[in-house]
Symmetry: C2
Subunit: 413 residues, 2 copies
C-alpha cells in the first residue's frame, strides 16, 4: 500500500452489498506488512460452484498449482488469500505451505481440502511460513460477516494505492441476483492471463461448467485486454464463485451455457470484470493517465489485439503520453514492430478525435494546438486504423512515468 493515492483512483466507491452464501473476514497476520490486514478468508455455503482462470506463466506460484488441481471438481467452500508474499518459486516448501494452509482451512470450514482455494501476492522467492497465519483460519471462518467486501479488497493490496471493488444486480429469470468483485494489482500486469488477483462471487445458482464458460469468455475483452508493463505475473488468479443462494428466492438454476436467461448475467459480469480490470490499470504503478488503445481495420480481431498490445506496451508510446506529447510517430513504430499484417501507406492514427496521420503520412489538417490540449487529459484514447481488413480490438494501459521506475527500483528491499 502506497501513501500516495493514484490520481486516477475512483472519485467514489460503491457501497458493496452482501452476497447471500458468502461470509468474509480479514486479519493482521504480520506476514510482511505491519499495521494493516494481510489475510483474507471468504467462506461459502455448501453447494457453491467455482470457475477460474490463471496465469499462463511457465513458472506459476504454488497457490496457482493448488487451485488448478482443485478446480476440475468445481466446488468451493473457502478462499484464503494473503498479501506480502507470493509463495512463488518456493519449491518444495511452497507446496508444503499450500498443503498445510489447505488442510487448516478445510478443518476450520468442515470441508475437504479439495474445496479450498488459495492465492498469495507479494514478493517472489521468499519462503512463506504457513505457521504465521494458519492458526488464525479457524477464527476467521467462524467470525466471517457478509458485509466485509471492501475490507476484503483492502487485505489483498500490495503496491496498490486503493482497494478495487465492483458490484451489479441484475435479473435472472424473475428475481434479482447480485455479483460482487474485488481485485488487486498495480505492477507485473500483462495480458495472457487474468490479472494478479481478482475474486468475484454471485448468489446466482449456476453450475460449475456454465460458470467457467461465463468467466473464460468474459476475460478476453477485460482482464486479458489490460497491460501495465507487459510483465506477466507468476500468480495471476481470477476466481468466480456462485453460491446459488438466490435459488431460495425463485432464481432458476442454470445448467446450460446457452441458456438465454444468462444474457443479462453475462453482460453484468463483463461490466464487473472490465471495471475491475480498468481499476487495475488506473492504479498501474506510477500511472498518471489511462490510455485506451483501439485498433481497427486489421486483418482479424486477433491481429488487431496484437497490434493494440504492441502500442500499449511500447515504452516510447507510454513515455510520450506521460510527457503529454502526441507523438504519433511512435504509434507508427509500434504498428510496424507488431509483426502483424499492415500497410504503411493505408495507416491512419487518431489521438481522441484528432486525426494526426492519414493514408501513410501526416494529416495536413492536423492541429498541434488542439491535440496538445487533448493530451493534458487524464484519459487518452489512441486509435490506429490499419486499413486492410475489419479486425478490431481495444486494450487499456497507463502511461510510463518516473514514479514507475522509482517504485520498482526499490520494491524488494
Amino acid at each position: 500500500m502506497s501513501e500516495t493515492i493514484s490520481p486516477l483512483a475512483p472519485k467514489k466507491y460503491p457501497k458493496m452489498p452482501s452476497i447471500d452464501g458468502v461470509r468474509i473476514a480479514t486479519a493482521e497476520a504480520g506476514i510482511k506488512y505491519k499495521g494493516r490486514t494481510d489475510l483474507l478468508a471468504m467462506v461459502f455455503d455448501t453447494g457453491t460452484t467455482v470457475a477460474g482462470v490463471f496465469t499462463r506463466s511457465k513458472c506459476p506460484s504454488a497457490p496457482v498449482d493448488f487451485c488448478r488441481q482443485n478446480l476440475p471438481v468445481g466446488k468451493a467452500r473457502v478462499l484464503v488469500v494473503n498479501s506480502g508474499n507470493a509463495n512463488a518459486f518456493t519449491g518444495k516448501r511452497g507446496r508444503e505451505t499450500t498443503s498445510m494452509t489447505g488442510e487448516a482451512a478445510a478443518k476450520a470450514a468442515g470441508c475437504t481440502s479439495g474445496e479450498v482455494f488459495l492465492a498469495s501476492t507479494g514478493v517472489i522467492g521468499e519462503p512463506l511460513d504457513a505457521g504465521k497465519f494458519s492458526h488464525l483460519l479457524a477464527g476467521l471462518v467462524r467470525d466471517g460477516k457478509a458485509d466485509q467486501w471492501t475490507e476484503a479488497a483492502k487485505a489483498i493490496m500490495t503496491t496498490d494505492t486503493y482497494p478495487k471493488v465492483a458490484t451489479a444486480t441484475v435479473k435472472l429469470g424473475d428475481a434479482d441476483i447480485t455479483i460482487n468483485g474485488i481485485a488487486k494489482g498495480a505492477g507485473m500486469i500483462a495480458p495472457d492471463m487474468a490479472t494478479m488477483l481478482s475474486f468475484v462471487a454471485t448468489d446466482a445458482p449456476i453450475s460449475a461448467p456454465v460458470l467457467q464458460d461465463l468467466l473464460s469468455r468474459g476475460v478476453g475483452k477485460t482482464f486479458n485486454a489490460v497491460t501495465v508493463d507487459s510483465d506477466t505475473s507468476t500468480s495471476d488468479t481470477l476466481l468466480l464463485f456462485a453460491t446459488g443462494a438466490a435459488a431460495k428466492r425463485g432464481v432458476p438454476v442454470i445448467n446450460d451455457p446457452k441458456d438465454p436467461r444468462l444474457a443479462a448475467v453475462r453482460r453484468a459480469l463483463g461490466k464487473i470484470l472490465k471495471t475491475l480490470a480498468l481499476q487495475v490499470v488506473r492504479d498501474g504503478e506510477g500511472a498518471r493517465k489511462q490510455v485506451e488503445v483501439t485498433v481497427t481495420g486489421a486483418k482479424s480481431a486477433r491481429s488487431a489485439k496484437r497490434i493494440a498490445l504492441a502500442i500499449a506496451n511500447s515504452p516510447l508510446v507510454k513515455t510520450a503520453v506521460a510527457g503529454e506529447d502526441a507523438n504519433w510517430g511512435r504509434v507508427v513504430m509500434a504498428v510496424g514492430k507488431a509483426g502483424e499484417p499492415a500497410d504503411r501507406d493505408r495507416l491512419s492514427i487518431w489521438f481522441g478525435k484528432n486525426r494526426l496521420a492519414h493514408e501513410g503520412e501526416r494529416d495536413p489538417s492536423y492541429s498541434e494546438a488542439e491535440t496538445s490540449a487533448y493530451m493534458k487529459r487524464d484519459e487518452i484514447s489512441i486509435r490506429a486504423d490499419i486499413g486492410i481488413g475489419r479486425g478490431k480490438a481495444t486494450v487499456w494501459t497507463c502511461d510510463l512515468t518516473k514514479e514507475y521506475v522509482a517504485i520498482n527500483g526499490d520494491y524488494r528491499s
Copy 2:
C-alpha cells in the same frame, strides 16, 4: 546530442585509420539541429561492393525502401545520411525526397542513383525537405577526406551522448585489411533488425554476395542481440561496404563465402559489430548500467534467445537493476512469461557469480551482502539456466531509469 555524456561512455576512443577507397565529408545543413553537423556523405571508389540488413518493421522509412531497392545490384558509390529527421511515414513526399537526394548524390559522384545508399534518423512523420541539403552534396563529394571517421559518427547522432566507432586490422591472405565501423542509436532499439544506423567499410576485395553472407551471419549475436527498450525502429539500417582497394597490396579477391581465408575477417567483423552494438546499449537512453543476460540449458538456441530477450526487455528486471536490487524473482517472472519451454523446478539464476536460485527455489547459501555489493557495479551479468536442454544465448541491454522516462517524455517537442 545530449549535454550529459552517458557514464558508460568509452573511457577512450580508438584513433580511426583511413580505409583505402573511402572518402568522408560532413556538413551543418540545419535540418533540425543547430550548431552541429547533421549531414554525412561517404564516397566510395568504383568497384565497391555493398551488403545490408534492415529493420523488419512493417512501416519502414523511405530511405530503407530506397536502399532495399538498390541492394540486389550490390554496388555502391555514395552513402548520404542525415540526422534530425527520419523521413519515415512521410508518404509520397518521402519517396520524392529519397528520389531527389539519390539523383543529386549520383550527379555529384558521377554514378547512377542505383549506386547511392541513403539513411535518415530523427523524428518520424515530419516531411524531410531534400532542398535543405541536396545542394550541399556536390561539395561534400568533392571535398571528402579519408580521415574523417569520427566526424562521420558525430554527424549521425540524435539522442546519442557519444559517437560510436570501432576499427580492426587483420590479415587476409598475406596482407592486412582494415575494417572501420560507426553506429548511432540510443532509443527505439530492439532486435529483429540491425540497429538504428550503422555503417561499416573495409578495403578488402570481397564480392557482394560474400559480403552479404558475412553481414547476415554477423548480426545475429551482435546487433540483433541488443535491446534498449524493445521498440523496433522504422529506420534500422546496417550497411557494409568493401572498396577492394587492398587488392593493390596483394590481398586476394574473395568470391566464395566458404573461403577459409575469410575466418579472420569474419572474427574481426563480428568484433566490430559487437563493439558497436554494445556502444549503442551503453548509450541507451538514461542508461546507468550495462546488463548482459545469458540463458543456458534451454530447449534450443532460438528458445534461449527468446527467454533472454524476455528478461532483457522486462521493465521490472530493468528497474530492479537501476535500483541495484538483485531481485531474482523478477527473472523467474520473465522466464515464466517468455512462452518458451521451461521447468520452474529446474531453474537456477545467477547475478554475476552469486547463485541466488537453484532447482526451483532460493539458494540456501546465497549471500545478500555479496550480491548487493555486486549490484553496485556498472556492468551486471544475469544468467538463467533453464535446466532442460543445451540451448544457449546471450543478449545485452541497459537498465531502465527515470532519465529514460524524462528523455522520452520530451523528445519531439
